[in-house]
């Protein structure tokens, strides 16, 4: 059962990594226009003025 001492911290760190990623996407405003972004990525032309 000693392996638990390694596995539990690892799973927690992985989870925290996910949480940090979520926080980052939230700060970057990636949930502001999900529909528009899903279309923009498939457009042929280059996005000259990406959202800041």
């Amino acid at each position: 059962m000693d392996v638990l001492a390694i596995l539990i911290p690892i799973s927690l760190v992985l989870g925290l990594l996910g949480l940090a990623g979520f926080y980052w996407t939230l700060k970057k405003g990636m949930y502001d226009d999900p529909e528009g972004d899903s279309r923009r990525i498939l457009r042929g032309d280059y996005d000259d003025n990406p959202k800041q």
């Binding site: 638990l4 539990i8 927690l12 939230l26 502001d32 528009g36 279309r39 457009r43 003025n49």
Partner: protein, 734 residues
């Protein structure tokens, strides 16, 4: 702003020297760039993004444009001299209707911040839930002794900070409702979360078998999901109410008697006093109630009364605020302005009518009113009974009471309404309707009577000549030439129609407009007149018409009919097919109303109704137990809109009407209204189904909890199953 002095500044760019002049011209605050936000309900595809952004960015003065397809709004960064109407024109030429939104940057960022805050709490709760579940699975599958205690301890270390952070919205709202002496939905929720956490900590330190950390966090997560959905719908509603910018500026031109000629100054309407004189130019809106002192013209009162026919206005005519002056300049002596004006009295009537509607209780409110006391009594009962059965084992009794609270907790109930309302308003939004009020959907579902206004609602308020085929080519060419010389709406309609028909205007001499009467000219030595009946010497008809007299031959009428709004026929037909009573109540003359009612197949109509009459008619229908949907756009409809059970107004309506109504229809098509009503009916049915589902789960789970068989595994299963069922049922709406 233009009267403040600009201090000379040293600037690096030569263009900046011209800036004060540009400021003067724009007449606005000295700001470099402006952000204009416009709603574009028609945008729906990747091609729309490219087309709109590329076109707007090609416009001089525009720095960047960005379309948000989710919210269907474009935000434009532009120099100060680019204004919203110009952008709207440009978008219209592209084929997209656009409406200016008041960026109100402060309130919008505030809403954004709150939304992100909730989303963050939801994310944290989700993260903890997953980790605790991972640990709990080990406990459920039989971990014992030290391993179990260790897992419980780690769970506690994750769960307690999460509950403290993510549970805040519930704790705050529960505290607020307790202080107000009410038992809201959030009181049992907070109690369950806190009790479950506390008892689990105690059990952990006593190396007990059951800890409810997973249940506490899961409860927080599911309820936050419901809360977030609810918030998003409400935010959309709030912005719809606040952001549609004012159509007109409350300003007036005051005439100040000076030495010699009177001079003009622009003042706010609020500063006007009775007895002062204001100048109203052709095309301007009359800002006050008053009496005309000098000048003759015609007034378009359609927005006030629903009349399509412009009325003559000369000295001593009494005018009311809101009418549009058409042909000649008028000097009006103010009799009432601001608080005393007829506009303000209308606002008072609206406030009275609205207070009745605010008493509506929603399905969710009715459900939680019965739910909260029942849950508390049940948990307290379980505690007391088990205390008695076990002979004073408080630990067991509290455990069972906590399990009861957790299992009955309204996970599904908290999701039942927001999930459906979010799905439904998303659907309505795609159909071009903004729901301003959270309860509007439920009220719309109950409607059994529909009342339409005529001018501007069923019709577009733009006249079209109807009998041009009765005129010969010469008469038409004379009429076309005369109409071209006037800015009167009927003349403009006539000029447009003859141009489309390919009529070549005759050559006229001495064309002159007689304000308030019409146009006269000389054609091949004959005097020709186009204008009001009594001026050209004709008997007036009871439909909208202009009269053409050539020489001494009798004057002939050019009749006009208002153009139907697209989708009006469909909307009326669908409502009638659904068995709803459809009424047409208008302030216009009986002739015009009857023609339209017959054209649309509406057999119940009323004409010449004053604003109070409309509201009275609706109130008496509601007194008979009918639920009335009012669709209207004019100032004369505002009281009726506020009095009706639920109301819709088109985006082209006056502010006052839009503010008073629950749903704003973007776009010109009226057909979505009928569809919206059936969406509302379906979504209310879904809400009821969801309540039944969560009630059903409780019927099964509560006896188990009361008998003391509930384990954390049971609680987790019951909670997630009911929440998922409810969410899926809501998604069926799409």
């Amino acid at each position: 702003m233009s009267d403040t002095l600009h201090a000379p500044s040293i600037s690096a760019c030569p263009a900046c020297v011209a800036a004060p002049a540009a400021l003067e011209r724009a007449g606005s605050a000295p700001q470099g760039d402006a952000r204009i936000v416009m709603s574009v309900p028609g945008a729906h595809c990747a091609a729309c993004i490219s087309a709109i952004e590329r076109d707007l960015e090609a416009m001089p003065g525009v720095q960047s444009a960005r379309l948000n397809l989710t919210l269907k709004r474009v935000s434009v960064q532009a120099e100060a001299d680019v204004d919203a109407p110009a952008l709207a024109d440009r978008l219209k030429r592209l084929g997209y209707e656009a409406f200016e939104l008041d960026p109100g940057t402060l309130s919008m960022t505030e809403t954004d911040r709150q939304g992100r805050d909730l989303l963050m709490r939801l994310g944290v709760a989700g993260f903890s839930m997953m980790n605790i579940m991972l640990l709990s699975v080990a406990v459920w599958s039989g971990a014992t002794d030290a391993t179990r205690d260790l897992f419980h301890l780690i769970s506690a270390a994750i769960a307690l900070p999460t509950v403290a952070f993510s549970g805040q919205p519930f704790f705050k709202s529960a505290f607020a409702s307790l202080r107000a002496g009410r038992l809201g939905m959030d009181v049992p929720i907070s109690l369950a979360i806190l009790l479950a956490s506390a008892i689990s900590v105690y059990e952990t330190f006593q190396s007990g078998h059951h800890a409810y950390f997973d249940a506490a966090v899961m409860l927080t997560f599911f309820l936050l999901a419901g809360r977030y959905l609810d918030f998003r719908t409400r935010a959309a509603a709030r912005s719809a109410a606040q952001e549609l910018a004012a159509l007109e500026v409350p300003r007036a031109i005051r005439l100040v008697a000076g030495d010699g000629a009177a001079h003009e100054e622009t003042v706010s309407v609020a500063d006007l006093k009775p007895g002062e004189r204001v100048l109203v130019r052709p095309g301007g809106r009359i800002p006050v109630d008053g009496v005309i002192e000098s000048g003759t013209s015609e007034l378009d009162r359609s927005i006030l009364t629903g009349e399509t026919m412009p009325a003559f206005a000369g000295p001593d005519t009494v005018v009311t605020a809101g009418a549009v002056n058409l042909t000649g300049p008028l000097v009006v002596r103010v009799t009432a302005a601001g608080r005393d004006s007829s506009l303000h009295r209308m606002a008072d009537l609206v406030a009275v009518a609205e207070s009745a509607r605010n008493r509506y209780t929603t399905l969710a409110e009715r459900a939680s009113r019965g739910y909260s006391p029942a849950v508390h009594l049940l948990a307290l009962g379980a505690f007391l009974v088990w205390l008695w059965i076990s002979g004073g084992d408080a630990r067991l009794a509290i455990n069972i009471a906590a399990a009861t609270l957790i299992i009955t907790c309204p996970c599904a109930l908290g999701l039942a309404v927001p999930a459906v309302v979010t799905a439904a308003s998303g659907k309505l939004f795609r159909a071009g309707m903004l729901i301003k009020d959270g309860t509007a959907l439920e009220r719309l579902a109950e409607v059994d009577t529909v009342v339409f206004d005529k001018t501007g609602t069923l019709t577009l308020g733009t006249p079209e000549p109807t009998n041009l085929d009765q005129f010969d080519v010469q008469a038409l060419s004379v009429a076309a030439a005369m109409a071209a010389g006037s800015s009167h709406p009927l003349a403009r309609a006539l000029a447009g129609a003859t141009q489309r028909a390919g009529v070549i205007p005759a050559i006229l001499d001495d064309v002159s407009e007689v304000p308030g009467h019409g146009v006269q000219a000389c054609w091949r030595g004959l005097r020709v007149r186009l204008g009001r009946a009594n001026w050209v010497g004709a008997a007036p008809l009871d439909v909208t018409a202009a009269y053409l007299a050539i020489g001494d031959s009798p004057a002939r009428p050019v009749t006009f009919a208002d153009r139907l709004r697209p989708g009006a026929e469909d909307a009326v037909r669908i409502f009638q097919a659904q068995g709803k009573a459809v009424w047409l109540i208008s302030g216009d003359v009986p002739g015009a109303v009857r023609v339209l009612a017959e054209r649309l197949g509406i057999d119940r109509w009323r004409a010449e109704a004053l604003p109070e009459d409309k509201a009275d008619a609706i109130q008496s229908m509601q007194a008979e137990g009918r639920r009335v949907l009012m669709v209207g756009d004019g100032l004369n409809d505002t009281v009726a809109l506020a009095a009706a059970h639920v109301s819709i107004s088109p985006a082209s309506a006056l502010d006052a009407a839009r503010v008073a109504s629950d749903i704003v229809l973007l776009g010109t098509d009226l057909a979505p209204i009928a569809r919206a009503q059936s969406i509302a009916v379906t979504s209310v049915r879904r809400i009821r189904e969801n309540f039944a589902v969560s009630f059903g789960y409780n019927v099964v789970a509560v006896p188990i909890a009361l008998l003391g068989f509930a384990t954390p595994l049971w609680a987790a299963l019951a909670m997630s199953l009911s929440s998922i069922t409810v969410a899926l049922n809501a998604l069926r709406l799409k």
